[in-house]
Amino acid sequence: MQNIPCRPIVLSAALGIAVLALSGQTAPADLTTAHLSVTPRTADEAARIAAVTAPTTDFSKPEPFETNPGGAASVRARGNADAFSQPSGNISFERELDFKVGDGLFRKIWVAAPASTLVSDGLGPLFNARSCQSCHIKDGRGHPPVGDEHAVSMFLRVSVPATSDAPIAQIEQYLADHGDPATRTSPHPVYGGQLQDFSTPGVAAEYRLQIDYTEQPVTLSGGETASLRVPTYTAADLGYGPLGDDTMLSPRVAPPMIGLGLIEALPAADILALADPTDANGDGISGRAQIVWSREDDRPMLGRFGLKAGAPSIREQSAAAFAGDIGISSPLFSDASGDCTAQQPACIAAPNGNTGTADMTEVGADSLDLVTFYARNLAVPERRGVEDTTVLRGKQIFYETGCTACHTPKFVTDRLTDQPEQSFQLIWPYTDVLLHDMGPGLADNRPESGASGQEWRTAPLWGIGLTEQVSGHATFLHDGRARSLLEAVLWHGGEAQAQRDAVVAMPPADRAALIAFLESL
């Protein structure tokens, strides 16, 4: 069986007419089954949650608890590049130890096998980075390469249309059973699930990422202008022959790491309840739930993590990144050759590091759990300036323009028996964790599981105003093409076209207030 390291089986719901009709009412029960250890909500709690998460209509002052986007897990917003690197504010000393050890593993530079440190080897043979931290720079957002530098915190996912004789995967069968006319795709037969631009000695690297930009002016109200840079991606210096005309590429920068454990702790039912695949409420927004097959639980689950929500849990996302990005096997992705395919024999034959851990994988279950715990507890910083009148005005514009139709302000997490940091917190992620058609301008035209080539998961906005402070750049969206928050807004199309057009047309002072609000997140 071919190794598919980066994602569950890929398929498409891109035909656009019949989409998965999944909502809180009609979802199969197994989608709402929690993979965390949850204490069910009481009716009384549900009523209080409904009241507290109702959108505000009072923009004269901040809402209670608005300063703490991560609830009690929020931390003081440090004034330096460490703002995204703090453990949950409510973590115990004991669990802070696990966080710190996980941090050490997150920073760990992996080396090629064989090496004297049996526990630390296994890099590659193909890889995008040697450590987690080198993509997730300061636990923040990656960026496109500048000048001639290598694209370390960015890479291309790759796939091809599935052949008619490709075996039906479980998730494909599941989606078909639920009325989804899926277009099936497969990893590239030679290059696998993503392109790696680095390799260990004796193995050819796969490519070099080349990006060319052209500027596209945008006229705004009040005599203001903006310019969007439109990227063209080329997989240059291919190491294993041409990709072929039907190959689909998807550029990805590493997303920020904060608040992931809180997103994971959201009840699936609360996310599914927001889905409106046929736009039954006629607001022009048709959020769809991503459904993926969980390797760990061996069942269909709500996808939450990654730019198209392709991973159902932090542990699976982390294991997939270990495998695809660093070439490190784990109990979930046990193939030591990472993203190598059968048509890359030198890569398959290269020494591996499946020694030295109890699980006989390059990273063992214990270490994977520590990295998962670390990722789960990277804290969301407190907001700054919530009482500022411009910020409050911007908040009002954000709500009244309709941005909150996808960037859902508030949720309450599940009560968890073994994760006190994430348990029962009022959080402000500004995402519905659903897929939305963002129009042809942002499309990668590469389906991923249930997401079409034009769909992306609504990005959480918490911490977004600290991007430059943490990462030394302010580039946004899935491939870092936007060079400011305003440019990111202007790239919105598809379901968000009306909101984008409203921002273009609104008085400049309102536009500035909107950005001030985003900067305060």
């Binding site: 709690e45 209080r48 009241a51 507290v52 209670p64 608890f65 300063t67 703490n68 609830g71 009690a72 931390v75 003081r76 440090r78 004034g79 330096n80 590049a81 460490d82 453990p87 504010g89 409510n90 115990s92 000393f93 004991e94 802070e96 130890l97 696990d98 966080f99 710190k100 050890v101 050490g104 593993l105 920073r107 760990k108 530079i109 004297s116 440190t117 049996l118 526990v119 630390s120 980075a129 040697r130 931290q133 080198s134 720079i137 300061k138 923040g140 500048v146 000048g147 001639d148 530098e149 290598h150 370390v152 680095f198 270490s367 407190e382 309450v412 029962f424 009022l426 990462s471 030394g472």
Partner: protein, 417 residues
């Protein structure tokens, strides 16, 4: 008068009913003032020794500089307990004690070091050998090695935390060089001729290396000058705490617990044993890790007992956290006092083993179960004392001290209760 009476009372473990939180906080600030002042004094001694070494490089002057560096670590490590709760320390600490570092950013490294092009493009930048280089698409003029070049441009260059250009460990690398002995015996062994002039210069660029060392040392002195001032009379570190003694007590306990558990027991000790990797050693060039760990642990004891012994033999003492907790929960206070003494003893046992010939990096080796056990015994002791620290928090009826923002769904005043 009142202060000294209470201090005497605490020595005899009498009921500490008279202990005021503000007095405990004052002791805490006084210890910080003394320990940071000592850190500054010893850093200036280091600076002087480095000046002497650079004026006349020799085995002797290099040895004196190395000795001064090791001495400078003694008070500084005792200040680490002021991290994790004091914002001015937390926001500053990375400039002074960041580790681990990709030393190839600074100077030449052994061919086995690797990492030439990928991952951290600047891991082998070697600024000492390169007066001009590209950084994140910009051309950097490093013709003159200045404080701004090190602290603003190179430190965490490109967002990589391992690009450490300043602080104790950068200076350590410049004095010792790489430790190429893995988990075997021996520390870094940089020849003094790396700083020699003319034909005697080894490994090239001796003049730029000397400038780098001088600038990095000056930055350390500057940074410590700032922090010593922050704890002196009317310093911001002190006034912030005294303005809210309850919050200050919380910050003190947060520092005790976070340093004991996550930072020292976890990241600096347990991880190295887990990975059996000498790269996880804290003072890896000088093989001084055992001392750093010991004085971290001693710093915890200082804050708990409200006492500090200075490098010149002088001492600071006053009403302590131990007194405060003892008044409310004598059993927990006594147990924590015992447990902290035990962890300090276990950390001291690591020093004894080093004195007996087993360096800290040798203890990490996978085929050294005795060495592994020495480290893990101290880890267990640090873990045990943190449990009592949590009980002390309960005794003081502080809200969860690690909670920086007090608003929470589960807070008593919140809508969900």
């Amino acid at each position: 008068m009142k202060l000294s009476l209470i201090a005497i009372a605490s020595l005899f473990a009498m009921p500490a009913w008279a202990v005021e939180k503000s007095d405990v906080v004052t002791t805490y600030a006084n210890i910080a003032a003394a320990a940071y002042a000592d850190s500054l004094i010893t850093a200036k001694t280091l600076q002087s020794a480095i000046d002497t070494f650079l004026a006349a490089p020799s085995d002797t002057t290099l040895a004196t500089a190395r000795t001064a560096w090791i001495a400078a670590r003694v008070p500084y490590m005792q200040t680490e307990v002021y991290r994790f709760g004091n914002p001015i320390v937390d926001d500053w600490e990375g400039r002074v004690n960041a580790w681990p570092l990709d030393e190839g950013l600074i100077d030449y490294v052994d061919a086995s070091y690797g990492g030439a092009t990928d991952d951290n493009a600047y891991a082998v930048l070697n600024v000492i050998a390169n007066p001009s280089f590209e950084l994140s698409g910009r051309t950097i003029d490093a013709g003159t090695i200045t404080p701004a070049l090190l602290s603003d441009t190179l430190q965490e260059a490109d967002g990589a935390e391992s690009n450490v250009a300043t602080g104790y460990h950068a200076i350590e690398f410049l004095l010792w060089g790489q430790d190429l002995n893995g988990t075997g015996p021996g520390a870094g062994n940089r020849p003094f001729t790396d700083y020699a002039s003319g034909d005697a210069c080894t490994n090239s660029n001796c003049d730029r290396r000397a400038v780098y060392l001088r600038v990095a040392t000056r930055l350390l002195v500057d940074d410590l000058t700032y922090m010593a001032g922050a704890w002196a009379t009317d310093g911001v570190g002190r006034t912030t705490l005294l303005a809210d003694p309850d919050a200050a007590i919380g910050a003190m306990l947060t520092g005790l617990g976070s340093l004991s558990y996550g930072e020292l027991a976890g990241q600096r000790m347990k991880l190295g044993v887990l990975l059996h990797d000498p790269e996880e050693e804290h003072d890896c060039f000088s093989d001084n890790t055992h001392q750093s760990h010991y004085y971290d642990g001693l710093g915890v004891q200082n804050v708990w007992l409200g006492r500090y012994e200075g490098v010149d033999g002088s001492s600071v003492s006053g009403p302590s956290l131990a007194d405060l907790v003892a008044a409310l929960d004598p059993d927990t206070a006594a147990q924590l006092t015992t447990e902290i003494a035990a962890s300090v003893a276990d950390l001291d046992a690591i020093r004894d083993a080093v004195a007996g010939g087993m360096a800290y990096d040798m203890m990490l080796a996978s085929d050294n179960p005795d060495g592994n056990a020495l480290i893990l015994t101290a880890v267990d002791a640090l873990v045990a004392q943190t449990r009592s620290i949590e009980r002390a928090v309960t005794a003081l009826q502080l809200a969860d001290v690690t909670l920086e923002g007090s608003d929470s769904l589960d807070a008593p005043t919140a809508v969900f209760q």
